[in-house]
Amino acid sequence: MRASNVTKAVALALSVAWVAGCSTSGTSERTGSTAGTDTGSTQGVSQNGGVSSSSMDDVANLQTVFYFDFDQSVVKANGFADLEKHAAYLAANPSAQVILEGHADERGTREYNMALGERRAKAVSRFLQVNGVSGTQVESISFGEEKPAVLGHSDSSWSQNRRVELKYVSR
């Protein structure tokens, strides 16, 4: 399965570039952190190189909540490894399906945040699809700022609310 690993690494790198490219198009703030994420992606790939592609592994213990920077919809490098495992599982189990729930923090207007939440969910969706998951296995649903994970008006609450939750509807 070494060949498959190489393929995956390439696919992952592509997906990072694609996701980053798509996601920065509409966002203005902190372009610096976008660049930082790109740098981080290289590390993500190399770290991932050491993980075997046992796609049938149980996904129960994987990270299912992925966090985002303010006003950003770029998937962060620290989520790559587990997202890749979700992707491997989904690719190997075509009947499995996930919902990606996109969320925003409370700042800004509600309908705009609905759009932002969807953009985040779709960034994760693209990541999965580039890694071999069929589009029919993934649904993005935005909840905007309507379902905060944490209440409160501080940076720490906000950072926990800017997220995509990956939920299996069938395995």
Partner: protein, 435 residues
């Protein structure tokens, strides 16, 4: 230079203590005022019945007029006399207390719970009667009578139709138990009194919008697990789900003629504004951009739609002429301008504005001069909605850890908040004039 004073309207507090209502969500408190509003006195109305009345009309009228910022209302405890008939008015006394306009009234019992209310408005300086009218109602709609009187007085003194007899809807979210939230769509009088729940569910509700005839609302509900747009008829409570698509279904806005809804769908890949014809059910996409296009709102003449787009790199407000498809960017000042709402004369654009301090506030742009004024000094302000006569903007803001509704006059001179007593209050929508 502007003098800030704190005027706590005691009337509502008194009302709350005398009328124990199951749903007393909102009470008005004025947090800022202006220097030279016109002094007006509303003398407590006479009551010739035997049992106590449920509401104090003079207090309600006084609070209504005070909220507009145009008038300073005299505290009844400082009045030298309480005339209830024209021949009891001593103009000299009222001139001494600097009152410019005076309102007196009488409440007369009629058959059953019927009641007649007579009121008169006087110009103290000219010693002239400006208004004299009789209103009939029941003991149960004294608040309606009061708001009607406020409308009459406001129109006589300003030349502008009053909007006190209107309603607001808003959304509340209240936590109960482990991570459970009860979302409610509520409707109340324009002063926040008499709230009733018109929809309650355990999944989010958002973006309520009034049809221009005041008979129905459109809103977004997640009751199916996904966002969908519903229309709810106020008289019957009957609901209908508007055709929904994969992805976003949001931000409904009624056309002025009530036949169309501007909505936001992401079925084509990213959020775009569409116009749904409610009679033919035909759907026309009106924006075409890979960025976010959302929060549509119609111009009063129905000829154009304003919307938020981040096509320029950050959210700004644009206007699209429907006939020519001509697109124009409207806002330039600030790094985030969104959810625009036009006044009913089309002259002013209220919006959520973020300037260099990165705080979200309510601002108004004069579309004739281009001048933008920030009206609020709180943070996380959103969802501006404008009274049908353009006098006041209601918006959602934070007080402590709670969402509350705030109000501000269009000139920014008077601000008030409607403190929430239950749940997180958000997304006010002011009704049109109601019949």
């Amino acid at each position: 230079m502007k003098k800030v004073f704190h005027l706590w309207i005691v009337s509502c507090v008194l009302l709350l203590s005398s009328v124990v209502s199951a749903e007393s969500d909102l009470a008005i408190e004025i947090t800022q005022g202006i220097d030279e509003p016109t002094p007006v006195a509303i003398v407590p109305f006479a009551w010739s019945g035997s049992s106590a009345l449920k509401e104090n009309i003079a207090q309600i009228v006084s609070a209504d007029l005070g909220r507009t910022g145009l008038f300073s209302m005299m505290d009844p405890t400082t009045m030298l006399s309480f005339p209830t008939q024209q021949d009891q008015i001593y103009y000299r006394d009222w001139r001494l207390s600097k009152t410019e306009f005076l309102v007196i009234g009488r409440q007369i019992p009629a058959e059953g719970t019927q009641i007649k209310v007579e009121f008169e408005l006087y110009d103290v300086l000219k010693e002239q009667r400006l208004l004299s009218e009789r209103v009939s109602g029941t003991q149960d709609n004294l608040r309606d009578i009061a708001h009607y009187i406020s409308d009459m007085i406001y129109q006589k003194l300003t030349g502008i139709r009053g909007a006190f007899s209107t309603r607001i809807v808003y959304v509340t979210a209240q936590q109960y138990g482990e991570g459970k939230v009860s979302y409610r769509l509520k409707m109340a009088d324009s002063d926040g009194a008499r709230p009733i729940t018109i929809r309650q569910q355990s999944e989010p509700l958002m973006s309520p919008a009034w049809a221009r005839d005041g008979s129905k609302l459109a809103y977004v509900s997640f009751e199916s697990g996904r966002p969908a747009i519903y229309i709810q008829y106020l008289a019957t409570g009957k609901r209908e789900k508007v055709q929904s698509f994969r992805g976003l279904n949001g931000a409904p806005a009624w056309s002025p003629d009530g036949n169309k809804l501007a909505i936001v769908l992401s079925k084509d890949g990213n959020p775009e504004v569409y116009v749904l014809d409610l009679r033919s059910r035909s759907l026309a996409r009106i924006t075409h951009h890979y960025g976010i296009d959302t929060e549509p709102s119609w111009s009063p003449d129905g000829q154009s739609i304003i919307f938020t787009s981040d096509r320029g790199g950050q959210p700004q407000i644009y206007r699209l002429q429907l006939a020519t498809r001509q697109l124009e960017r409207v806002t330039y000042e600030g790094n985030y301008n969104s959810r625009g709402r036009l006044t009913h004369d089309g002259r002013f654009l209220a919006m959520v504005h973020r300037g260099d301090d990165n705080v979200f506030r309510i601002a108004v742009q004069d579309l004739k001069t281009g001048r933008l004024d920030t009206l609020t000094d709180t943070y996380l302000d959103e969802s501006p909605t404008i009274a049908p006569n353009g006098s006041i903007i209601l918006y959602a803001t934070q007080k402590g850890v709670k969402g509350v509704l705030g109000g501000v006059t269009l000139d920014g001179n008077v601000r008030f908040i409607l403190p929430a007593t239950s749940g997180d209050v958000r997304e006010p929508a002011w009704s049109p004039y109601l019949q």
